[in-house]
């Protein structure tokens, strides 16, 4: 069942369109061996995805400013570029040229290492984000599990910077961040597990392919509505977005673990949190909203128009529609997250932990059992 599904939906890639092969040919024509060409090829997709992530952050920061302004009936940034689109650049430039201050009694080494440890796992997780059938850095077999494992490293960086700042607000913020991400990781992983159970694979590509059998009707959000809500709440909590921004609650902890940070080190935290927000939204769209899938299957449209889906032109159109759909769904979710941030009040720390352990954890376990039962009862609809 699983293998036939896979074969049916892996589109035959025209060799002329495989950029790696053409890049390889190009370098071999110049006179390099194929292994060196492969080595030179390797960093290119990574750089591309990194650039995409950074541009995504700039867009998100601008959106955050504009939407928050709209929510508070202000205008928001206006003079830096048209509609203030250059404002995030100005922010970044300001942080770049700011003096790098390390408090006198702070632990120098750990203080510097903390923000780096927060950022690296988030960036590494982009390894598994698919923008199309063959548009990702690496289709690793453990796919989504890699993301869960990597995101569990982040609390160490937060604890490290909280401890190294030698400041009680920072330490409390770091401890809160670690407690929060430990307690929300479990329902998150259980919600992902239910999806994985339905698609019989951890790979993000297979998860998306399994959802795109019948257009938007087969998206996981209709089969896993509870799982979707659990995942979204946990993702917001993992990103420390506002109903759950306890670790940096201004009124209680000044700025939590970031209190003592300035300049580029603060920028690393800032970058990390926004990249994490985009990553979480991307993964929600991959796991529950059909990833790069168009609401109506592209193959169907191509067949109606009388075109073979294997034509190079059709493949290029399909790939671009895939990228547009992924980005569109992602930014829809980012918009939702920003709107939530500016319209909901913050929960208390005990309410936060109660919600995680006493509500989301049992619900996600029930959801998992229910999915297993449905999978046994209706193997056709729930991926037997």
């Amino acid at each position: 069942m699983f293998t036939t599904l896979k074969i049916a939906f892996v589109a035959v890639v025209n060799t002329g369109l495989d950029l790696e092969v053409s890049f390889n040919h190009l370098l071999q024509d110049v006179g390099l061996s194929s292994s060196i060409a492969h080595l030179l090829w390797l960093p290119l997709p990574m750089l591309l995805v990194l650039t995409a992530a950074l541009i995504g952050v700039l867009v998100t920061v601008w959106l955050e400013r504009k939407i928050s302004a709209a929510a508070q009936q202000r205008i928001g940034p206006e003079y830096a570029g048209a509609l203030g689109i250059l404002q995030p650049m100005a922010d970044g430039l300001k942080l770049l040229v700011k003096e790098d201050i390390i408090p006198k009694k702070a632990d120098n080494l750990l203080f510097t290492l903390g923000p780096i440890l927060v950022l690296i796992p988030v960036i590494l997780s982009w390894l598994i984000v698919p923008f199309g059938q063959n548009l990702l850095i690496s289709n690793v077999g453990i796919g989504i599990f890699l993301w869960i494992a990597l995101s569990s490293i982040q609390p160490i960086g937060l604890l490290m910077s909280g401890y190294a700042s030698n400041n009680k607000y920072s330490l409390l913020g770091g401890l809160r961040a670690a407690a929060q991400s430990i307690s929300y990781e479990i329902p998150l992983a259980l919600a992902v597990l239910a999806v994985v159970m339905m698609s019989n694979s951890l790979s993000t590509i297979d998860i998306v392919n399994q959802q795109n059998t019948a257009g938007f009707l087969s998206w996981n959000i209709f089969r896993q509505p509870v799982g979707f809500l659990i995942f979204w709440i946990c993702a917001l909590a993992e990103c420390e977005r506002l109903p759950f921004d306890l670790p940096e609650a201004e009124e209680e902890l000044v700025a939590g673990y970031q209190t003592e940070y300035a300049g580029m080190k603060f920028a690393l935290f800032y970058l990390g949190s926004y990249i994490n927000l985009i990553l979480s939204s991307l993964l929600v769209s991959v796991l529950y909203l059909g990833g790069w899938g168009f609401p109506v299957p592209i193959e169907l449209i191509a067949n109606i128009l009388g075109q073979s889906p294997n034509l190079p032109v059709i493949q290029i159109v399909t790939a671009s529609i895939g990228i547009i759909m992924t980005v569109f769904k992602t930014y829809l979710l980012v918009f939702l997250a920003i709107l939530l941030r500016w319209t909901t009040p913050r929960v208390r720390i005990d309410q936060l932990l109660d919600l995680g352990w006493k509500f989301l954890l049992p619900i996600s376990l029930v959801n998992l059992l229910f999915t297993a039962a449905l999978k046994l009862a209706f193997p056709l609809a729930f991926g037997g």
Binding site: S152, I156, L171, L175
Partner: protein, 200 residues
Amino acid sequence: MTIATSTELICFLILSSVIVSGGLGVVLIDNIVYSAFLLGGVFMSVAGLYLLLNASFVAAAQVLVYVGAVNVLILFAIMLVNKREELKPIKGLKIRKFFSGCVCAGLLALLFRVDITTNWSTPGPQAIGEIATERIGEHLFTDYLLPFELASVLLLMAMIGAIVLARRDVLSVEVRESDSIREKVIKNSNNNVLLDQSID
């Protein structure tokens, strides 16, 4: 030597030197927080070794369990009781250090002996790569079902024990809901708070 094998060799050398020096650092460094962070580094490098062996699922599980759970909990515990107190000098510390050093050296010698005398078959078994996840699941629910279930029962017992220790108010005789008594308990925290079974 191709590029792949030399990259593998370089990665192996870096990872193993990080593991050895990190492990020594965990034991020898005085600052307990540094030791805990170094332990995290050692766990990460072990995950790297698993990756080199083509066992990506085991590597990810290593990161999730050891770095994400065990090490974070250790750090959490250290930071919650972060008292910088001078420890009392222990009698005969040098002799103790000498003896524990001897025990460690003996263990190392034993491991070296095993390493040298065993007839390792090279190359080892072929890595199965992507299907490893399914294979691990199969083994866990067939051959290793009993140890798996026993481990889960053990974890459950540990969890219940931890809850009992944490919720002193359920078991203590004198503790009631009122705050004054709670304060007293905190003051007399050295006293045994659990029920003393020998009285009745």
